[in-house]
Symmetry: C2
Subunit: 80 residues, 2 copies
């Protein structure tokens, strides 16, 4: 089973990478009012049961993939 | 208008960050057969027209946000 985890800096948390991207986009002439940069993690799981897979990915996020103090995450399970 | 850009290492391109994540997840006892790590870019655009916004984001990707030699990207436009 495949899963996608989207990790983003929380609202209000400084995002220097996003600021750098916005600055560069504006220099190139693009009109952007906001940019935030996060991480995208594609996982291939051996678990086949969706509920089991989601519970596992939830634990992966809180134990390793995201820092809950400064990041939020979203889990998308893909149909096998 | 908001857009999300998902940038991933292309198939066959080395992904040391993904390898490190897989290694760590296995050490923590999770069963994962594959992991890839990419970037997630949230954009707030001043353009209101979806076709115009998509064309702009497409140009941002090829000019700055992704390296087309080693990365693929996916653009998701969010309804205003």
């Amino acid at each position: 089973m495949k899963a996608v985890v989207m990790v983003r800096p929380k609202e209000g948390i400084l995002d220097p990478q996003g600021d750098a991207v916005r600055h560069s986009l504006r220099k190139l002439g693009f009109e952007v009012s906001g940019t935030r940069v996060g991480r995208l993690i594609d996982l291939e799981l051996t678990a086949d049961d969706p509920a089991d897979a989601e519970a596992q990915v939830e634990r992966m996020c809180s134990e390793l993939l995201a820092n809950p103090l400064i990041e939020s995450y979203e889990i998308l399970l893909e149909d096998p």
